[in-house]
């Protein structure tokens, strides 16, 4: 019996040692990678960028905002850190890591959709992409742990931080791609037959509408993270701009409920600017030639939207230049 227990203890020790060794090796590999959506390489890349304006949000931020159009004389360094398949939590976690390494930016452009501030299990599932940063920030750790009540136990393993990332990590290590300023241009136009078919499954915009009409309640945790971001911006004289980019065929009326909910947050009183393209540039939402699909603008659409956006934010940038203060880290504070 004693031999069996000895073997078992030895087995556990071997597993622990192997787990730590693999975790360390993977961490080393991860630090060398700065591209790849599946392994978190794009986070590494974003963290390396020193930017005056940082663009955050989902694929609708990544494909819609062109940094070279946005940049001005007073803010020449613009980086688009939007990420396909992710949303608000990704932005908040990235910003928390970013502000630990860089001076506060002059402006943060955060893309929001009607579902961005609602609770989403699938979003929580996907933010596992931040697992290599588990030890790097309290906020990242808190959000990662909120995925599951046993998540904390899983993170006792060093290798678990790289769960599902091994192959993409190796691939991006061997074959890295240049992410440039973060923006990715989409080619092509929304097919006409898709527009004509009212029940088309490709009408991804419908999901936004459905969620909007269901009256998503804002998630308390997400609101807390947004408040912390606002506080960080206030104390660092960073202009926070929230924007909602166009969805094909949608008008301001489609987002009425969401806008009412947003109004309760009293963003304007706290110095936050909100730009809704459904309201400010409704003509964009009805021009099929500007869209790749229902929710994504193509390169022409992105150019037009970025030009409109820069006109809207320019006054705030010049105002922002008046302030030069010491940086305060507020994001992780609750």
């Amino acid at each position: 019996m004693f031999t069996h227990y000895k073997k078992f203890i030895l087995f556990v020790c071997v597993i622990v040692v192997l787990d730590q060794a693999i975790g360390l090796a993977m961490q080393h590999l991860f630090s060398k990678v700065s591209s790849g959506d599946m392994c978190g390489g794009m986070i590494n890349n974003a963290l390396k960028q020193d930017a005056d304006i940082i663009i955050l949000g989902s694929s609708r931020a990544r494909y819609h905002v062109i940094p070279s159009v946005i940049k001005t004389e007073s803010a020449p360094r613009v980086y688009n850190a939007g990420a396909g398949g992710y949303d608000f939590l990704y932005s908040i976690m990235l910003m928390d890591l970013w502000q630990k390494q860089h001076k506060a930016p002059k402006m943060i452009l955060l893309h929001l959709d009607p579902h961005s501030l609602a609770h989403s299990s699938s979003e929580l599932e996907r933010i596992h992409i931040f697992s290599p940063f588990y030890d790097k920030s309290d906020l990242v750790r808190e959000i990662l742990q909120s995925r599951n009540r046993f998540e904390q136990v899983k993170y006792l393993s060093s290798s678990y931080r790289f769960n599902g990332k091994v192959v993409p990590l190796v691939k991006n290590y061997l074959q890295s791609s240049d992410l440039g300023d973060g923006y990715i241009a989409l080619d092509g136009t929304l097919p006409e037959q898709d527009v004509e078919s009212p029940n088309s499954s490709r009408q991804s915009g419908k999901s936004a509408e459905k969620e909007e009409s269901a009256g998503n309640l804002f998630d308390e945790k997400k609101l807390l993270y947004l408040n912390n971001l606002i506080a960080y911006c206030q104390s660092n004289h960073t202009q926070l701009v929230l924007f909602h980019s166009p969805i094909y065929g949608k008008t301001i009326n489609d987002f009425e409920l969401w806008k009412k909910q947003l109004a309760t947050l009293k963003l304007e009183e706290r110095g936050v600017v909100f730009i809704d393209f459904a309201e400010d540039a409704p003509e964009l939402s009805h021009n099929r030639a500007l869209f790749k699909d229902y929710v994504h603008l193509n390169a022409t659409g992105a150019q037009l939207m970025s030009e409109t956006l820069v006109k809207e934010i320019r006054p705030y940038l010049s105002k922002n230049n008046e302030f030069e203060g010491t940086q305060k880290h507020m994001l992780s504070k609750r």
């Binding site: 227990y5 073997k7 087995f11 597993i15 693999i22 009540r149 290798s159 790289f162 192959v167």
Partner: protein, 475 residues
């Protein structure tokens, strides 16, 4: 509570710890309580259905044993079968028959206004219903004594490792084990743990990762190329095997640690060289159930060839229908029945060919022919899986038509390389287990420890973290 969740890990550690701390007489209430908790973690109220099935069969079996009158025995058996099957019918099949009756009525312009039932199928209903039925039938046949201890009988039906997706145990194999006093056996525990790890690896590393590709392609099958659909179908073939056999391995492993042996449900079915061999290796507990309680009572092999073929078809149509109240499952079962009938009819031809090749004493002829048989059987099974996976018959038709076109480009998923590596690993391990080398390796402690370590690290690094359900839970 899913086997691939941390909740189950905690639950199982607590139950196992208490099980070995308690005296034998207190163990059945512990296992029963744990099983109730396990089942109620899904939809609590459905435990009433399970308890109703248990009550019916418990009373029926005692009545059957206590009655000397053969007619009364038969009456109790029929009553028990009808009531238990009735529950299964209401929850699983009513809407199917109702829907088809409505379609027929509409075709003939008749009035038909029976509303569909708005109910969710209780998890594992078909599994525990069949296990319960097997008990009453065995008591009727005199092969099993009626269990007088209500608690032990309830545990036989509700035993948590095999409650929701089998193996469908026979009373002769399971009931007596609850009466025996079990001591903690480190060797059995180690082997059980290894089985759990292997099952978990198959589920979370192979099945769940393959599912991502399969679901993407099958969800919009008409938009995908022949090659993508073909690959998705091959992937599904391994997904369902790893999903279900993974569950069975975890069930057997968890039970083995408690000292209770469950039957083996899979024996590397994709290495089969005939359809009858496939069915003696795939979902063994179900195929033997149909063999013992349907096929043999229908006459088995001791009837004319025509009747035998009809019996085979009946059994496989029923087997398909057991899986779900959908035409796709019936076609899947029917196809397997057809394959077996063709095999039965061509059996003499196949035997003659093998004998002739053996006589020719060519070194490669016989192995080559065996490889051909293996490939033919495998691809027929793959073809049938299209119906099993498709949402309806139209979707299955679309998939098959698109595949037959042999055009388009392959959709490359970022995980495709990892999936292919995992499949190679699976096939190597299974081939090793089948070989003599595997027998020798299994005896070496360091090999078992090394294999365990590989599985643990594989699960941690490559396992899908989504905690998805097992496919067979829906049956």
């Amino acid at each position: 509570m899913l086997f691939n969740s941390f909740d189950f890990v905690v639950f199982y550690i607590v139950v196992t710890g208490l099980y070995f701390l308690l005296k034998h007489r207190h163990r059945w209430p512990l296992l029963l309580g744990a099983s109730c908790l396990f089942y109620m973690a899904f939809i609590p109220v459905y435990i009433i259905i399970l308890l109703a099935t248990i009550a019916i069969d418990y009373i029926a079996a005692i009545q059957i044993e206590d009655t000397t009158n053969p007619k009364k025995k038969k009456l109790f058996l029929i009553l028990s079968i009808l009531s238990v099957a009735g529950i299964l019918f209401v929850f699983k099949y009513f809407n199917f028959f109702n829907q088809n009756a409505a379609a027929i009525a509409a075709a003939f312009h008749w009035n038909y206004s029976i509303a569909a039932l708005n109910i969710i199928l209780p998890i594992g209903l078909s599994f525990h219903t069949f296990q319960s039925l097997s008990y009453v039938i065995e008591v009727y046949r005199g092969a099993q004594k009626a269990e007088r201890h209500l608690g032990i009988y309830t545990l036989y039906v509700m035993y948590f490792p095999q409650l929701v997706a089998g193996p469908i145990e026979r009373p002769q194999n399971l009931l007596y084990q609850f009466h025996e006093e079990k001591k903690f056996n480190p060797e059995k525990a180690a082997s059980g743990l290894l089985l759990i790890l292997w099952g978990l690896f198959k589920k979370v590393v192979i099945a769940d990762n393959l599912a991502v590709y399969v679901d993407t392609i099958y969800k919009t099958s008409s938009h995908h190329s022949s090659w993508s659909l073909l690959l998705a179908t091959y992937f599904f073939t391994f997904q369902i095997y790893c999903d279900f056999s993974g569950y069975s391995d975890i069930a057997r492993g968890t039970s083995r640690i408690l000292g209770i042996e469950l039957m083996r449900n899979f024996r590397m079915p994709y290495f089969s060289r005939s359809f009858s061999e496939f069915w003696s290796r795939w979902h063994i507990s179900l195929s033997t159930w149909f063999r013992d309680y349907v096929y043999i009572p229908l006459g088995g092999n001791r009837v004319s060839l025509t009747v035998n073929c009809i019996n085979i078809l009946i059994v496989f149509l029923l087997s398909g229908f057991w899986h779900g109240a959908k035409w796709t499952f019936i076609v899947w079962g029917g196809l397997h029945g057809l394959f077996l009938i063709i095999e039965r009819l061509g059996g003499v031809l196949k035997q003659n060919l093998l004998q002739r090749l053996t006589r020719m004493s060519s070194r490669f002829a016989v192995p080559s022919l065996k490889a051909v048989y293996l490939l033919v059987v495998f691809h027929c099974v793959v073809l049938a899986w299209v119906f099993f996976r498709a949402d309806d018959l139209n979707a299955a038709k679309t998939v098959l038509t698109r595949i037959a076109a042999f055009d388009g480009t392959l959709f490359i998923d970022p995980n495709i390389f990892q999936n292919l590596c995992a499949l190679v690993f699976l096939l190597v391990i299974e081939a090793l287990v089948l070989s003599r080398l595997g027998d020798r390796l299994k005896k070496l402690t360091f090999v078992k420890l090394g294999f365990g370590a590989i599985l643990i690290l594989g699960i941690v690094l490559f396992g899908a973290d989504s905690g998805s359900q097992f496919i067979y839970f829906q049956f």
